[in-house]
């Protein structure tokens, strides 16, 4: 397997606050990787750096062999054409009906006419368990779970090679969480896509991840196969996956220095 997404020594600061302190991560082609970490650990900043929404201060990010840091907008758009993204709250466009949201990319780059766009929307919606009756509904009329599903349909509509999921189950009830996890797993398996998910929901981790990485204080301090999570003796990982208030992770100030470890 070859590295589809590779981060090497990526740093990012906002003013005096150093959020990423040298992130190293390699995601193989076709692999489903989940990055876990507490609030403020730098997960979203890392994801936005990979997506080109933030520019890292230093380090390199390769997507499918192309160094993406510092790319021009036009070159970046070519990389993005092969990427799908499910945002935390769906980020559906309020002013557009569901079908235009789902087929947005094809309509913008003129690869789809109106009829083909509606057909793509019907197909993508069916893949996430939604019917064609939603095509002309506006996002404001959908529940949170349905918005996530439409967001997932939009992410997979162009059949991308890489899909990112930002906290895909946050704010959902346990049943809808399971539904979304299964949809992600099934869609990814069907497409054969490489995926990176950031979350702090351990149910999602166990359901969708081949490999898991723990981000703490701006560094990946543990990474390994998801099967090895429970066997690891890393105190930081153990505290996080078991949801313990006491341990090396200082919940208030998060000041304890961690050493980098990995699974077998």
């Amino acid at each position: 397997m070859t590295g589809m997404i590779t981060l090497a020594d990526v740093t990012k600061a906002f003013g005096a606050k150093q959020v990423l302190k040298g992130v190293d991560l390699n995601i193989e082609k076709g692999q489903s990787v989940v990055v876990i970490g507490g609030s403020g650990s730098g997960k979203s900043v890392m994801l936005k750096s990979i997506l080109g929404l933030l520019k890292p201060d230093s380090g390199t990010i390769h997507v499918d062999g192309t160094q993406t840091v510092g790319l021009s907008r036009r070159d970046r758009a070519q990389i993005d054409a092969n990427i799908g993204m499910l945002f935390q709250n769906g980020a559906l466009f309020d002013s557009l009906p569901v079908w235009r949201n789902v087929a947005f990319r094809g309509l913008q780059d003129n690869t789809l006419d109106m009829d083909a766009a509606r057909d793509i929307a019907v197909t993508s919606l069916s893949q996430v368990g939604l019917g064609p009756e939603l095509l002309d509904v506006f996002p404001a009329a959908l529940s949170g779970g349905m918005q996530k599903r439409v967001g997932l349909a939009r992410a997979i509509a162009s059949k991308p090679d890489v899909i990112f999921f930002d906290e895909p189950t946050t704010g959902l009830d346990p049943i809808m969480t399971d539904v979304i996890n299964h949809l992600i797993r099934d869609c990814v398996r069907e497409l054969g896509a490489t995926t990176l998910t950031i979350t702090h929901d351990m149910t999602s981790v166990r359901a969708i991840a081949d490999k898991t990485a723990l981000l703490y204080q701006g560094r990946i301090i543990w990474q390994g196969a998801t099967d090895e999570l429970e066997q690891s003796d890393d105190p930081f990982l153990n505290q996080f996956i078991n949801g313990l208030a006491h341990g090396p992770i200082d919940v208030e100030g998060q000041t304890v220095e961690a050493t980098v470890t990995s699974g077998a």
Binding site: K48, L51, G52, L53, R73, A77, Q78, D80, A81, I83, M85, F87, Q88, N89, A91, L92, F93, D94, F104, R105, Q108, D109, R154
Partner: protein
């Protein structure tokens, strides 16, 4: 020492914002002149910015024209110059009050709406979503609004001119007993094309300011609902002040020769 730090911080913030706004305008102008052009979105914005602003601009200019006629009549009365009402109303409305008051009303209505809409898109990650879908937010969001506002404002100013003069006509003929035919004749004779054209040029600039300020404050909003509220207020305040400042500058340039 604290005072120096405060002053330094103020100037740093001022220069940072000025630089940010300059870069925003450069990127927006570049988006205006490079493809793709979203004709459907421009059409939508022309309806929202132009068509739906007609009532508020028309009402404002009608009452302003009427009030202007009253002021000029009683002011001129002291010098036995009541006859100048029609010409001064026409001049005041077309050169200044039509475009400026129209601009301020549209600033309140449109700049706020643009900032709120784009600000909400920012805090709900819709702008990030646009970028990840290979769509430039400046071309998709900013350019259609700037084009629509710059095109619509001269039309709105022309409507304001006509209805403002009509307001003066109604007051002049109904309250002060002016002969209707003579009032119209004096207005037409006195008014020069340059008076109207200068107002329309000003209005186009005001339209650009209104859309840019709305987009800029919305695009850079942060901090949830409170941030969107702040962006909306800042957009209206900034566009109103800039309209008045630009009006002074353009009046100096257009009428100093």
């Amino acid at each position: 020492m604290q005072a120096i730090a405060t002053i330094g911080s103020f100037f740093l913030g001022f220069f940072f914002q000025t630089g940010l706004l300059t870069l925003f305008i450069v990127r927006a102008v570049k988006a205006l002149v490079t493809p793709p052009v979203y004709a459907r979105l421009i059409g939508q914005q022309i309806m929202r910015i132009g068509y739906y602003s007609l009532p508020v601009v028309a009402l404002t200019s009608f009452f302003t024209g009427g009030a202007l006629a009253i002021q000029i009549y009683y002011g001129g009365n002291q010098f036995n110059s009541e006859a100048i009402v029609s010409s001064i109303v026409a001049l005041g409305i077309t050169r200044e009050l039509g475009p400026v008051l129209g601009g301020l009303m549209v600033a309140g209505r449109v700049s706020a709406a643009i900032a709120a809409e784009i600000g909400t898109m920012r805090v709900t990650e819709q702008i990030d979503a646009l970028t990840t879908l290979s769509t430039d937010p400046f071309k998709y969001l900013v350019a259609p609004r700037v084009i629509a506002a710059t095109l619509c404002m001269p039309v709105l100013a022309l409507v304001a001119d006509i209805i403002g003069v009509m307001g003066g006509f109604v007051v002049g003929t109904q309250s002060f007993g002016f002969n209707a035919a003579i009032y119209v004749q004096q207005t037409v004779n006195f008014l020069q094309p340059d008076d109207v054209i200068s107002g329309l040029i000003k209005a186009a600039v005001f339209g650009f300011i209104i859309a840019i300020m709305g987009c800029y404050h919305g695009y850079h909003s942060k901090g949830g609902a409170q941030g969107v509220g702040r962006a909306t207020t800042n957009a209206v305040v900034a566009s109103s002040i800039l309209i008045l400042a630009a009006n002074y500058l353009m009046t100096s340039l257009l009428f100093s020769a």
